[in-house]
């Protein structure tokens, strides 16, 4: 196509003035994408028309602005409007109307279906997020507990090469005991770790603060409460151990007071 000829054919002006048929209009828009000089010619005629119209503007009768303002305040803008751009007229528009209404119906159906699916997905991800938030919430609560004033932090010293790595947070007021697990090697399926509190005056008689599984990293575990403790210890026991600690399997030990 000779773009110079096309530009000077009057098509630019016809487009701007809305005098092209739908087909011609479509073509023109396609060419505009491909030929910057066509777009430039369009823009320059648009500016000329605009300038002309602005210079010759006659003010409308008074009061219209207020009428429009109250009208637009009553009709909230709908979020999505199907484009009804002016197209070239036909003397009978009923055929078009019928076609348009069918298309509108299909488009509406399509949107309804999409919205339905989107809604379902949103609900699902909403649930997921709520679940995650709850987790975060309880973690935060635990964090708060850990940062309270009367909390003693006990660093559990490793007694064996492959010992777990953990800190005990012991709230001496509420007697709550939390264990922050940094790293806890996995155990055979019939074994569990067990946390103990030891009291000096008792001849270091151990009290169980609970059993827990290995293979965990960076979690906070709420253990049984301890009213008194001079030291904490972690051992490896049979799963569900109800007896005393197997001190041969002592993994970690930490004292609550610096001596």
């Amino acid at each position: 196509m000779n773009i110079k000829e096309y530009i000077s054919s009057g098509v630019v002006e016809s487009y701007v003035l809305g005098l092209l048929t739908a087909q011609e209009k479509f073509e023109f828009e396609q060419y505009c994408e491909a030929y910057p000089e066509l777009k430039e010619a369009r823009d320059s005629f648009e500016r000329a028309i605009e300038k002309q119209a602005m210079e010759n503007a006659v003010p409308p009768p008074a009061g219209i602005k207020e009428r429009i303002r109250s009208a637009i305040q009553q009709t909230p803008k709908t979020s999505k409007i199907i484009s009804m751009e002016p197209t070239t007229r036909k003397s009978s528009s009923y055929g078009w109307l019928a076609a348009a209404s069918i298309i509108l119906f299909l488009v509406a159906g399509y949107f309804a279906y999409n919205f339905y699916n989107q809604n379902k997905e949103l609900k699902k991800s909403n649930q997921e997020i709520t679940g995650k938030l709850n987790n975060v919430d309880s973690l935060l609560n635990e964090r708060k507990a850990l940062e309270a004033e009367n909390v003693t932090v006990v660093n559990m010293m490793a007694m064996k090469p492959n010992a777990p790595s953990a800190n005990i947070y012991w709230d001496t007021t509420s007697a709550n005991v939390y264990m922050l697990v940094k790293n806890m090697p996995k155990l055979a399926s019939d074994k569990q770790y067990q946390l103990w509190s030891l009291i000096d005056s008792n001849g270091l008689k151990p009290t169980s603060l609970g059993l827990f599984d290995g293979g965990q990293e960076k979690v906070i575990i709420k253990m049984n409460n301890a009213q008194k403790a001079d030291a904490f210890a972690i051992t490896i026991e049979k799963r569900g151990n109800t007896g005393g600690p197997d001190l041969g399997q002592l993994q970690n030990m930490g004292k609550t007071k610096l001596q």
Binding site: E13, P59, E85
Partner: protein, 192 residues
């Protein structure tokens, strides 16, 4: 985020600010009151003039103007800047609304009741009606020869398709197309 925009753009919207089109479109999409004020104050005259050239009665033209601004407000999210300037888009909405008005049954019935209306071409209102302000495009039209003027009037101001004009004037469709293009090219040289 929305509020952040309201604030920052709100500050731009001092009474005497001039906006570029892009800003204005963003603000209209946010349904900014100030943007509406600016839009109306800035463009209502030009749009009213084109409407009034198609709908000679000032009061009816005012009604059409109202309808046009409501439409602009509602449909601003369909405006596509890649297809042309905001004013061109609004001008076409105004022209189409005005043509719809003169073709509406109510309007035609009303015209029939008017005592004497200068008509021609199977009863269509004609632009040479002296009550129409001869400004803007219409003024430019007066510089065209009789035939070109008639063609532009029928196609642009009365919205007839080329087929309709061909039938009306009893000339072949191809001739109508060529002559309208020629008239439009003449028009361009007069405007620019």
């Amino acid at each position: 985020m929305g509020c952040f925009f309201c604030l920052s753009f709100g500050q731009l919207l001092e009474p005497n600010t001039k906006y570029d089109e892009q800003q204005l479109v963003v603000l209209l999409n946010e349904q900014s009151n100030d943007a509406f004020n600016y839009l109306y104050d800035h463009y209502s005259g030009a749009l009213f003039t084109i409407i009034n050239q198609i709908v000679p009665d000032k009061e009816t033209a005012g009604d059409v103007l109202q309808e046009v601004f409501i439409n602009i407000w509602k449909k601003i999210n369909t405006y596509d800047a890649s297809k042309g300037r905001l004013f061109t888009w609004m001008l076409n909405i105004a022209r189409n609304a005005a043509i719809d008005k003169i073709r509406s049954k109510g309007y035609k019935d009303n015209q029939r009741n008017q005592p004497i209306m200068e008509t021609e071409n199977s009863g269509m209102a004609v632009s040479s009606n002296p009550s129409v302000s001869d400004v803007g495009l219409k003024k430019v039209l007066t510089k065209l020869n009789e035939e070109s003027r008639k063609l532009i009037d029928l196609s642009y101001f009365q919205g007839f398709t080329h087929e309709e004009i061909a039938k009306m004037l009893g000339i072949p469709l191809g001739t109508v197309k060529t002559r309208i293009r020629t008239a439009i090219i003449q028009l361009r040289t007069m405007i620019q």
